[in-house]
Amino acid sequence: MSDITAEQVAHLANLARIALTDDEVTSLTKELGQIMHAVEQVSEVATPDVPATSHPIPMQNVFRDDVVGATLTPAEAVAGAPEHDGARFKVSAILGEEQ
């Protein structure tokens, strides 16, 4: 069985911005371990003649032409935002840095 540690679960929770209690970390560590074990079973049956796939449908090269389509107005764009200045989204400044 794959090992996943409580530290890894806490780290992932932090990356995903999910607040977990210690109890939740403990239970999730156990559950994620079981999920990884299930995935491992898939690895056991995968053979080199079964190529990895990222998509269930065997399609490729779906492109659109470089032609302008419909856009939103600034008012429409910010319509669902909790806060805005009429044209731009207003967000909290306590945010660290750009990636």
Partner: protein, 505 residues
């Protein structure tokens, strides 16, 4: 680190070998964005659009919206990859790079990870003394740009102390190609200049392909510079820093130089370098620490389920390869041979960024020597005085016309410089300025002979010397005649006439 605490650059080079790596982002100039049909602000038609006027549901990550790849962006990316000497992937796919920051509303950036569109290339880079470095390219991948944040309430417009931030998603989704070099070894003391020349070469390639406006000041071209040092004789690479926010060619050179000196000072004292991003400050010429570099694992890359693989056909790749313009390094070699310039003459033109201007001036009829003389001489002097580019002062057609007027004997060099000033001042074409200002050389011998006779009569001692065979004495008369003609005479013709008149009398 204050500049006084840095290690001397030459001393740093004695103790350490600098190893640099460069990441350059190129914004493509397609009409629409990478994954959405919203207009692309990196295209000249949509510069300076008002905030959030170039957005679709895809740009905002609205629920239910789905990305569709812009075929033209893929073709331009392949062309760029080919121009970088890369192999084009038989199959390429997109990946999600997950991070939380409001510059992308989806909470992930669509990028490429394990299957970039182009890989394993090489770019020839020429530095100012004419030496050529080969910069190895690891990969070039397609991705989307992020939106722009304006921090409000802080004293400096920076994030520190800001009360809130305003987000404009016009730039979100602009097609980008990120070009990543392998570590560049062996540049030694030239490392800062190689870094600058590399980015400049990427700009030249992008411009020659017509795939980007490639203007650093607009952010069409952005550079992150990785620098590490290893002690002489050590095999293992040192810990690197990644300097961001380097927004001009000159800054790239300065930032790499600064990092070499900063890291050397730390290492020489027995300290260690922190692996981190650093921010370049143009005003102080220093870098400051940013965030610790995240592990790639923390971005939890995974294949983008909303997009299908890109599998370029061999026919498409060969079609784009056949349409590639001449590589900048090859073009330089060809032009240098065609123009017959010495190394120094050619570097003068190339380092002044005047290759296109000189080439177009020659195409408009000027000789290579005249084109070079005007662009690297008077025009560069005037541009430096006005703190601008020579190319912004006059057009190649105007310079060629000016050179033709000199060749035809209508203008002396001195008069031509006055005409050029008129052209720059917007008084019209060189011929129009000549006509309007009455600046042409007096080619009618009548007025010249009158002025010569007058000068000879005023200086009989000089006349006597000329008659005694001391022809160099004629210089005094030439000066007097040129003054009388307000410079509008051909000195060689004046000299001929002086000798004729002195002999005749």
């Amino acid at each position: 680190m204050a500049r006084a605490e840095l290690m001397d650059f030459d001393q740093a080079l004695e103790l350490f070998e600098p190893v640099i790596g460069l990441e350059v982002h190129v914004e493509l100039n397609t009409v629409t964005k990478m994954f959405s049909p919203a207009p692309n602000p990196a295209n000249a038609a949509y510069h300076d659009a008002e905030p959030n006027t170039l957005v679709s549901p895809v740009c905002l990550g609205l629920p239910g919206s789905l990305p569709v790849v812009n075929g033209d962006a893929v073709r331009k990316s392949i062309s760029l990859g080919l121009a970088l000497g890369c192999d084009i992937a038989e199959s390429s796919r997109f990946a999600r790079k997950n991070y939380f920051y409001p510059d992308l509303a989806k909470d992930y950036q669509i990028s490429q990870y394990d299957e970039p569109i182009a890989h394993d290339g090489e770019v020839e880079v020429e530095i100012s003394d004419g030496r050529v470095f080969r910069v190895p390219i690891e990969r070039a991948h397609m991705e989307e740009d992020a939106g722009k944040l304006t921090h409000v309430g802080g004293a400096t417009g920076r994030i520190q102390g800001a009360e809130y931030s305003l987000v404009d998603y016009n730039r979100a989704g602009v097609p980008l190609v990120e070009i990543v070099t392998r570590p560049i070894f062996g540049a030694e003391a030239d490392a800062p200049e190689v870094a600058k020349a590399y980015v400049s070469t990427i700009r030249d390639i992008a411009l020659s392909l017509g795939i980007s406006e490639a203007r650093m000041e607009r952010g069409n071209l952005r550079c992150d510079a990785n620098v590490s040092l290893r002690p002489r004789g050590q095999e293992a690479l040192g810990i690197r820093t990644e300097t961001k926010n380097v927004n001009s060619f000159r800054s790239i050179e300065r930032a790499v130089r600064y990092e070499i000196q900063r890291q050397a000072a730390i290492l020489a004292k027995g300290g260690s370098i922190t692996q981190e991003t650093r921010h370049w400050h143009e005003d102080t010429g220093t870098t400051s620490p940013g965030r610790p570099k995240s592990d790639a694992d923390d971005y939890r890359y995974f294949p983008e389920p909303d997009l299908l693989p890109v599998v370029p056909s061999a026919e498409l790749i060969e079609e784009l390869r056949a349409a590639l313009p001449e590589a900048p390094a090859a073009r330089r070699r060809r032009l240098k041979a065609e123009w017959g310039f010495t190394d120094l003459e050619f570097q003068d033109v190339a380092n002044g960024g005047l290759l296109n201007e000189v080439a177009e001036t020659i195409a408009a009829g000027a000789t290579p020597a005249a084109a070079r003389k005007w662009w690297t001489g008077e025009l560069t002097r005037l541009a430096n005085a006005a703190d601008t580019d020579a190319a912004s002062l006059a057009t190649p057609a105007q310079v060629a016309e000016l050179a033709a007027l000199v060749d035809a004997g209508t203008l002396t060099d001195r008069l031509a410089r006055q005409v050029l000033e008129g052209v720059i001042a917007g008084e019209g074409s060189p011929q129009e300025v000549v006509d309007a200002r009455g600046l042409a050389v007096v080619s009618d011998d009548g007025p010249l002979i009158a002025a010569i006779d007058e000068a000879l009569a005023a200086q009989p001692d000089v006349l006597a010397k000329i008659r005694d065979g001391k022809v160099q004495a004629a210089g005094a008369i030439i000066g007097a005649v040129m003054k009388a003609m307000r410079g509008q005479a051909d000195a060689a013709r004046v000299r001929e006439l002086i000798l004729e008149r002195a002999a005749a009398e």
